[in-house]
């Protein structure tokens, strides 16, 4: 299938999605679900305003900090468990169990410790993102073909050279996968925190708009977040594919 065919198909799907949206709107009415065009018009007016800007900034702050911690802690745990076989064997099922838990139920604990503040949302976001980073990094290290390390020894590489010129390039595609999924989940964690119990951020904006029966605002912010998340993920996926193509 050629590239043009693929793009046309994606466009067709987008059009179908918009038509479904329009159709749902006809069924449930304006107060429940505004139509696509008025929503986009509202979006165009709303995004440049200060109120939106403040919320976006609040979410952005929490997200960036949470991402930093997800990556830092996740990579550290993943590297340690990847190289130290026993820790890896002991810890992997524990990490996987935590991964499948609905972590939102731990949110009250976070709230009790940090209150409705930035550190609370950052912690919650990081809690979500740290696990895929750790698990995929650990896996990447375990999967390094032993022949690479043997080759490094026959070429008399120092430990530092082995790490930088062999281990890092060899594990990069899979580690990057973990970072991409961590990105997604950290964003999810931060937004969930805002939706449940925060007074700032885009997640709060959505819930607030719902409670004030401002359907247009609610749907607009949803669309903005959707587009941002999809675009960011598409970019990261593109990078990931390029990394994997050589592997």
């Amino acid at each position: 299938m050629t590239a043009t065919e693929r793009i046309t198909d994606t466009l067709i799907l987008a059009v179908i999605a918009l038509l479904v949206w329009q159709g749902l709107h006809q069924i449930v009415g304006d107060t429940a679900l505004p139509a696509p065009v008025p929503t986009l018009a509202y979006l165009a007016k709303f995004v440049p305003t200060a109120r939106f800007g403040e919320s976006a900034w609040a979410t952005f702050q929490a997200f960036i900090l949470a991402l930093f911690f997800s990556y830092a802690v996740g990579l550290s745990i993943g590297i340690w468990m990847g190289f130290h076989r026993l820790s890896g064997a002991v810890g992997e099922p524990i990490l996987i169990s935590i991964y499948t838990l609905p972590k939102i139920t731990l949110y009250p604990v976070v709230l009790l410790i940090f209150g409705l503040s930035l550190p609370g949302r950052v912690t919650f976001g990081a809690m979500h993102g740290v696990l895929p980073v750790a698990l995929l990094t650990m896996n990447a290290i375990r999967n390094i073909p032993p022949v690479y390390l043997k080759s490094a020894r026959t070429m008399h590489l120092s430990p530092w050279q082995t790490i930088t010129t062999v281990l890092v390039p060899a594990t990069l595609p899979e580690v990057f996968s973990g970072l991409r999924i961590g990105f997604t989940l950290t964003l999810l964690g931060v937004l969930l925190a805002e939706m449940f119990a925060a007074k700032a951020g885009l997640g709060f904006l959505i819930i607030n708009a719902m409670q004030l029966l401002q359907a247009q605002e609610m749907v607009s912010v949803t669309v903005v977040l959707f587009v941002f998340a999809a675009a960011a993920n598409a970019l990261l996926l593109w990078i990931e594919h390029r990394l994997y193509r050589r592997a």
Binding site: K150, M155, P169
Partner: protein, 275 residues
């Protein structure tokens, strides 16, 4: 020193070498190799054949310094080998060791970059090695775009540029089809003559060993020990056409006599070995 005396000079040796793997998590230790005695003469082509699992790869790795010997001594150029791979030894492994994130050219240059050789010399040696291995047109390609045989040639080129004096090959053609193997055999012979290095080839293919080597060590089933060392007496200028010589059939026949029973043992045909 006369040519003869030099030819008799011992380049590397194993004396009474055994290798025992400690048992993992409650299992018994595994006696994988030995005791083995082997003298490699400078510039010779020596092959080791034996059934699967008999310890051939272990022998190679102990000789290279990749694994420690549990007993006995390992010497290379009159110095003891232990812990790290000595300078002057090159290894081509059974698995594909080409780095997928580097081009063919960068793969070949990899070892040199870290050894302090200057750029002009690196370029000269890599271009030379790639041309010799028939990879000149693929210098900018990535290993994932090449076939298995070509990737092995990249690994050989990477070893070549380091100008090793002893080349160890661990079943490098294991994953290739029969015709490619024969052609690669000729390539290895060219390599051997060109570099003047001592070559140790591990293989399970008797005809390959008989065709390529000066001497062949037949190894028993695990724990591997040498049952016999067969001298082929081939001239230095040889290639795969040697298979039509009468002596070729005798040599392979003699190897199989030694190894038939051992192969059956390693395949689990208990009690049939004497048949």
């Amino acid at each position: 020193m006369t040519a003869d005396a030099q030819a008799q000079q011992i380049h590397a040796s194993l004396k009474g070498v055994t290798r025992v793997y400690p048992g993992a998590a409650g299992n018994k230790p595994v006696h994988a190799l030995g005791p083995v005695d082997l003298d490699l003469r400078r510039g010779e082509f020596f092959a080791v054949v034996g059934p699967s699992g008999c310890g051939k790869s272990t022998l190679l790795e102990v000789l290279a310094g990749l694994q420690p010997a549990s007993a006995g001594t390992v010497m290379f150029e009159d110095r003891s080998v232990s812990g790290e791979v000595p300078d002057g030894i090159g290894v081509v492994f059974q698995e594909d060791a080409s780095f997928p994130w580097l081009t063919v050219w960068d793969n070949a240059a990899f070892g040199l970059r870290r050894s302090g050789v200057d750029d002009a010399e690196i370029r000269r040696r890599v271009d030379d090695a790639l041309a010799f291995m028939g990879l000149k047109d693929f210098a900018r390609a990535y290993p994932s775009q090449l076939s298995g045989g070509m990737r092995q040639r990249v690994c050989i080129a990477r070893t070549l540029v380091l100008q090793p004096r002893l080349i160890l090959l661990d079943e490098p053609f294991g994953a290739l089809d029969a015709q490619t193997r024969l052609l690669m055999g000729d390539e290895v012979l060219r390599l051997w003559r060109r570099t003047g290095a001592t070559v140790l080839l591990i293989t399970h293919a008797l005809d390959e060993a008989a065709m390529l080597s000066d001497r062949i060590g037949a190894m028993s089933a695990r724990p591997g020990r040498f049952l016999d060392v067969v001298v082929t007496g081939w001239p230095r200028e040889r290639d795969s056409k040697i298979v039509s010589e009468a002596a070729f059939g005798e040599i392979t026949g003699r190897l199989w006599d030694n190894l038939r029973g051992e192969s059956m043992k390693s395949l689990g045909y208990a009690g049939m070995a004497a048949e």
